[in-house]
């Protein structure tokens, strides 16, 4: 169907893709894996006409093609679901799906027909959506489906998905992977980019591994396993981590019967109580959108609680300011690194000193100490292995994984008694994930308390001493490390009951 020969892409001196050969046959799922910055997205952007290769050829249906714009790609039956959603929040689902291919009556937009067509299309591929819903009101999982429907609506035969599962909950992932299988059955061919090797092993027929812009392996699924794939991606063996037993001490965080309202003044968190002790990692599992965000924001002081008490080290911090709470000893890896966690246009340096800029030795009497700040920042990036050309480049030029390491560095190295880690490894490659996990465990081993909130079950299972499950703003289950399992969690997260 599709073949790439010797594709090379250079950005100035830097080679993002180096002599890549790749092929896609009909009705297969071909996965591309690789670390952050390995060049996966760049390769796909060339296929989709958003970039032009420096050299190399693209063949579609055995004909050499020049793809110069997304329109060309769509014309050739290539559709792409981008790593970052390409949606219009104030448009309805149907409007997003049919965008630029709208059914019309002369110049008029036939919205009725659009709704019908989208509904039918969704039905055909077994996806459940309400075409009239606004994107801004739709959960992420639905938004993801909209992206796929969009591509299908355009009649794409070749569908590229760039990290489609990064923000999905386990159930949503399961749904998505099922849909992908369905699509293949119906004759589509799929290129799937992901960091998650278990997904790869579940659905892919073939796998291409990229490392540093080069193909480091191209394999059939049957002929490989996750260990081999990781090795090809990272270039070394990954270690299995274990949680050494630590005797937990007194409660550092005490959330007591807390209620929080959301922006529409509906109760988002109801009567939640959590305690996190010294030397303990408490994981909160749950499908995102079940009140975790509000809980995080209440603990960190970003929103007000409507009832209940929050204590840190026996100090009442309920409804205190963010600064007061942080000064009590909280550090916080936020769930959304671009919204909360960083200022994209600010330098790496400015991003790194956010939580400490007022304190000695970085500042004295309101004046920033340039020298101290420089050595502090340089140490942090070295210790946390943030890859950046200079500490003055702006954060937007860091890949997601590197930025996440930067945020983790800022929050973890502060040596606070309490860390609130929300989705600490979302969309990050296994190398970076392993690193961040190690840092979190080390913090726990030092006797600090960690509240981990994640929609990634494997992460919860790997790190937590204790697991709570949140559903519709309430805690619906609690497990010790010893008797927790993925099945139990999945069930509770989906609103089921477990005896």
């Amino acid at each position: 169907m599709l073949e790439l020969r010797g594709i090379t892409k250079k950005y100035g001196e830097f080679t993002a893709n180096d002599q890549i050969d790749f092929s896609l046959v009909k009705q297969e799922i071909h996965a591309i894996v690789g670390e952050n910055g390995a060049g996966k997205t760049t390769l796909m952007r060339m296929l989709y006409g958003m970039e032009e290769p420096t050299s190399g050829d693209i063949f579609v249906h055995d004909k050499k093609r020049k793809i110069q714009s997304p329109n060309d790609a769509i014309g050739l039956g290539i559709g792409m679901v981008h790593q970052h959603f390409m949606l219009f929040p104030s448009f309805t689902i149907a409007e997003n799906v049919v965008f630029h291919h709208e059914p019309r009556k002369k110049w008029r937009y036939d919205r009725k027909k659009a709704n019908q067509e989208v509904e039918q299309l969704a039905k055909k591929f077994g996806m459940e959506i309400n075409p009239n819903q606004k994107i801004s009101d739709a959960p992420v999982g639905v938004q993801q489906r909209v992206e796929i429907l969009k591509v299908l609506y355009q009649g794409a035969e070749i569908i590229i998905l760039d990290e489609p599962t990064a923000v999905l909950t386990p159930l949503e992932v399961k749904d998505l992977l099922n849909s992908l299988r369905e699509l293949v059955k119906m004759g589509k061919s799929i290129i799937l980019i992901t960091h998650k090797l278990n997904e790869v092993m579940e659905v892919a027929d073939r796998i291409t591994v990229l490392r540093d812009g080069k193909v480091s392996g191209s394999l059939k699924k049957e002929a490989t396993d996750t260990e081999e794939l990781s090795r090809l991606m990272v270039g070394r063996e990954l270690q299995k981590k274990q949680l050494p037993k630590v005797t937990s001490g007194k409660a550092v965080l005490d959330v007591n019967q807390v209620y929080v309202n959301d922006s529409k003044n509906k109760a988002a968190v109801e009567n939640i109580s959590v305690q996190v002790h010294q030397g303990e990692i408490v994981g909160v599992a749950g499908v995102s959108g079940n009140g975790q965000s509000e809980l995080i924001q209440a603990i960190t002081g970003l929103v007000k609680t409507s009832a209940g008490k929050i204590r840190i080290n026996d100090h009442d911090v309920t409804n205190h300011s963010v600064r007061q709470i942080r000064d009590r000893g909280l550090s916080h890896i936020p769930e959304d690194r671009y919204l909360w966690g960083a200022a994209k246009s600010a330098s790496i340096l400015d991003n790194l000193i956010m939580t400490d800029y007022r304190k000695s030795p970085l500042a004295q009497r309101g004046i920033l100490n340039k020298g101290k700040i420089h050595s502090y920042v340089n140490n942090s990036i070295k210790r946390f292995d943030v890859k950046a050309s200079s500490i003055n480049t702006s954060a937007q030029y860091l890949s997601g994984g590197n930025l996440q390491k930067l945020i983790a560095a800022r929050e973890i190295q502060k040596d606070t008694p309490l860390l609130l880690a929300a989705e600490p490894t979302r969309g990050v490659d296994i190398g970076a994930m392993e690193f961040i996990h190690e840092q979190i465990i080390e913090k726990r081993n030092n006797g600090d308390a960690v509240l981990l909130i994640s929609s990634e079950l494997s992460e919860i299972l790997a790190l937590s001493d204790r697991v709570l499950v949140m559903f519709e703003g309430k805690i619906v289950g609690e497990f010790d490390r010893e008797n927790v399992s993925e099945e139990k969690l999945s069930l509770l997260m989906a609103g089921g009951t477990y005896e």
Binding site: S321, V322, L339, W340, A343, D350, M354, T355
Partner: protein
Amino acid sequence: MSKMKGHISNIIQPVFAIFVGLAVGTIAILLAGESVFLTYREMWEGAFGSLYFLSNTLERSIPIILAGLGVAFAFRAGFFNLGAEGQLVMGAVTTAIVTVYLPFQGFLNLVISIGAGMLIAGLLSFFAGWMEQKFQINLLISTLLLNYIAVLFAGYLVSEPFRDTTSSGGVAHSVMVEDASKLPKLLTGMNVHYGFVLAIIITILLAFIIKRTTFGYEVRMLGQNMFFAQYGGINRKKVMFISMLISGMLAGLAGSVEVMGMHYRFIEGALTTPQFAWTGLMAALLANSNPVGTAIIAIFLAALDTGALGVERNTDVPNAISDIIQAVLILFISAKFTMAFIKSKRKRGAK
């Protein structure tokens, strides 16, 4: 390497802009049937031809620099203050009234009356900030509308309660400032006054605050991503109020020093006709809200004004031509010419 490239394009761009601006001006001058060379020479002479003309240029730049710094400061914190004009006028009228009614004259009078002007102007800008914070009133609209209200209110003050009744004058104006309380000239016989020194000091101070203080850091981060700033414990409300206050105070100072150092009274229209506030706004935007850059561009824009005066005096070229040249220069400086090529390539690559 890329830094070098940056520096070169930083220089090429204004040079290119000036070249294009002058070329367009040439067409206009030819249309008016005048000597191009003579016109441009007069323009240069009028702006920098002698110490006297240089002093005029610097004098004119004072309110532009200060108003520009005001805009720049709020902008750094992420707030677009379009109200510099109203704040400038309120500062000026307050200063002009206070200086006359204070029971003593001299340096202290000068300081207090300028301080009062800054305070009132700061409060005006603060008010817009407060409305945005408390009632989500769009800052762009409110500051724009407050300009009209402030200008009319100042006009009312000097045409009714605080009118100068001693002179038979026409345009509404306040009573003349006493000699002892005037802001002195830098050089005798020259128009430039100590306001210029003040403007330069404030430029440097502001650059220092923004770059090297924790408050400056808070301002910058709030301006770049307010959610990140809040997450980091920065109090948006506080930083906003302070930066809007400072922004307004600087615009007010622009008006106050113009009163105490140049006109020696508040004359209706004398501060709005020359478009100080809008020119200052442009300086701030062209300089990306960098204080030193704002000051430099403000002086350049002032030079265009005083240069035009030279053209007007010594040639038959209509005054409007200099407006045209000025506008064209600004247009082309704001364009990212040399960058455009690099950028357009990069843009396609970036997400």
